[in-house]
């Protein structure tokens, strides 16, 4: 068997379930990918047989079990629309595992806080699984109650879960970053423990996380998105500005130290 860290594979689609309004969970078979993927890494999926749409679509590895892996995705345009129509038995052209995932700082920190905004839950479930012995705290931010994803799955792993919704229909009313502020400042067990943050979500939220982490002097790893053309570090199209110059989201990222990024 080839030993390459990244590879192209035809993966068989096992399940493509709707899990919320516009959200699907897809299970794909590839023992190689399941074995090699690390939390925070992603795959590039060809969503059609033909040339339209042209580019692959990137998705974080959501979970791994046995020789299968899952992706969790939201329909936002043509590519994800096509993906949602795929049926079990189909075979999907996939490249992965790609990028640098989260660094698990299990020895240095006692408390782990995972912050997900919207679709940001996707790579964090896989991370929570790897951190489950440390019983992480998971904050899930969503627009409304109906948009909360994977609450049950995080709980099943033994995580404590706190919710925030923009409209106040469930949990803390407001932004997930405000919830995080509350927790870090309040009289919670999280207050005085050394802790580490891991976050995925929209850029404004991640920027906010970087500021919060800085003011509390805690390390934070954030997973960024960018439009990818190649996904394998060749085109230099996906760069983000950092203190060490431009870095590729698809190669040096998608996970970065929050304080590295120039927002």
């Amino acid at each position: 068997m080839p030993t390459h860290k990244t590879f192209q594979v035809k993966a068989k689609l096992l399940r493509n379930q709707r899990v919320a309004e516009k959200h699907y969970k897809m299970t794909l078979a590839s023992s190689r990918l399941a074995k090699q993927a690390k939390p925070g890494q992603f795959v590039e999926v060809k969503v059609s047989e033909g040339p339209e749409p042209l580019l692959r679509r990137p998705f974080g590895v959501h979970r791994v079990s046995g020789s299968n892996f899952e992706i969790l995705y939201e329909i936002v345009g043509i590519g994800t629309q096509l993906l949602s129509q795929k049926k079990p038995g189909a075979s999907l052209d996939i490249i992965g595992p790609l990028g640098n995932g989260f660094t698990l700082s299990t020895t240095h920190h006692t408390a782990h806080i995972l912050v997900a905004g919207g679709m940001g839950v996707a790579p964090l479930l896989f991370l929570a699984e790897k951190l489950k012995k440390q019983k992480p705290l998971v904050l899930i931010g969503a627009k409304t109650k109906r948009h909360i994803l994977r609450e049950k799955e995080f709980k099943q792993l033994g995580c404590s879960v706190k919710i925030s919704t923009d409209d106040g229909s469930a949990g803390f009313p407001g932004k997930v970053t405000e919830l995080l502020q509350d927790i870090l400042q309040g009289h919670s067990p999280w207050k005085d423990n050394p802790c580490a943050l891991y976050a995925c979500g929209p850029r404004p939220m991640l920027k906010e996380i970087a500021l919060i982490a800085k003011s509390h002097k805690i390390p934070a790893q954030i997973s960024l998105e960018a439009h990818l053309a190649c996904g394998i570090g060749a085109c230099l199209g996906c760069v983000v500005n950092t203190k060490q110059g431009y870095k590729r989201v698809c190669k040096e990222g998608p996970v970065f130290e929050a304080q590295e990024i120039i927002w």
Partner: protein, 307 residues
């Protein structure tokens, strides 16, 4: 029987006519996990400049109908960085390495670059990128390849300082590409490659902002293919030097169009992004076509268009 696939670009032999285009294949190492690099006819590196370049601010790419825009802005480690960090891997592959070079400062800097590369045995040829829409000559604010005289002067200057094969890469953003190709030929270019990307704009209607930070960028992909094929055909009728056809090749049939129009070799561009194994798959497809149609030599296809 296996058809002949070997082609010649000047004195240079490619064991097959399928190459990879500058800027779409990084420095080859990015693709080593996906294909056997030895199978390629030649590799064109990302364009190199004298000094390291940071490139343009992001966002630098966006998908468009049957194509994409890019405004990378020639991010590269500079010639010395290239020689130190990238060339050692390229050297070991064992296929002709063609180093693409560019400058905003004009002929003098091109000559410095060419002299430096002239000394390196493993550099098979130099491609003069005078057609990147993301960098314009500082003095004139235009592309060298938009002017026949400027093209002639530039190629002539570089020709004087190197014995390496010279390939001149042309822009489609001109009224008559044959004039530019003829100027390059007259000045001593051993081949021309065409086309580079076409300047274009894509707008986000929600924010009223351009999709790229630089507002415009270069269009590539199947969207530009028929333009590229037409240009190859026009140039084929006017020059004797070989043509390397580029633009929207994503499969064997699109590659074959270029040979029929007059290309001696082809380069795979953004198709490498869609499928990292596109180049070698296209090579296999071309081979199959030749066998199926009992064509003994790829060279018999070049310019075989019936009009």
């Amino acid at each position: 029987m296996n058809p002949n696939l070997e082609v010649k670009i000047g004195r240079l032999k490619f064991k097959n006519p399928v190459t990879v285009a500058s800027g779409t294949f990084g420095y080859a190492e990015e693709f080593k996990d996906f294909i056997n690099l030895k199978k390629l006819g030649a590799i064109f590196t990302k364009t190199i400049t004298l000094k390291p370049r940071l490139g343009n601010p992001p966002p630098r790419t966006c998908e468009t109908p049957a194509g994409m825009l890019n405004s990378i802005g020639l991010e590269n480690p500079g010639i010395e960085g290239f020689i130190k960090e990238k060339l050692p891997f390229l050297k070991k592959i064992g296929v002709p390495i063609i180093v693409s070079i560019a400058s905003e400062a004009g002929a003098d800097e091109f000559m410095v670059l060419a002299r430096r590369l002239d000394k390196i045995k493993e550099v098979a040829a130099i491609e003069l990128n005078i057609s990147c829409p993301n960098i314009k000559e500082k003095k004139t604010k235009r592309l060298i390849s938009q002017d026949a005289d400027a093209t002639y002067d530039l190629v002539k200057s570089v020709r004087k300082v190197t014995k390496k094969m010279l390939i001149t890469k042309l822009s489609p953003h001109v009224p008559d590409i044959t004039e530019i190709a003829c100027a390059a030929e007259k000045a001593g270019s051993d081949a021309v490659s065409l086309i580079n990307t076409f300047p274009a704009l894509s707008i986000d209607i929600e924010t009223h902002r351009p999709q790229l930070a630089t507002v415009t960028g270069g269009l590539s992909g199947p969207a530009i293919r028929p333009i590229a094929v037409r240009m190859v055909w026009e140039v084929y009728q006017k020059v004797k030097i070989p043509i390397i056809g580029i633009g929207g090749i994503i499969d064997a049939s699109s590659a074959l169009e270029f040979f029929l129009a007059g290309a001696t070799a082809i380069s795979i561009g953004m198709a490498n992004f869609i499928n990292p194994a596109a180049s070698t798959e296209i090579l296999e497809g071309v081979k199959k076509y030749l066998i199926k149609n009992k064509i003994k030599d790829i060279r018999m296809l070049t310019g075989a268009l019936k009009t």
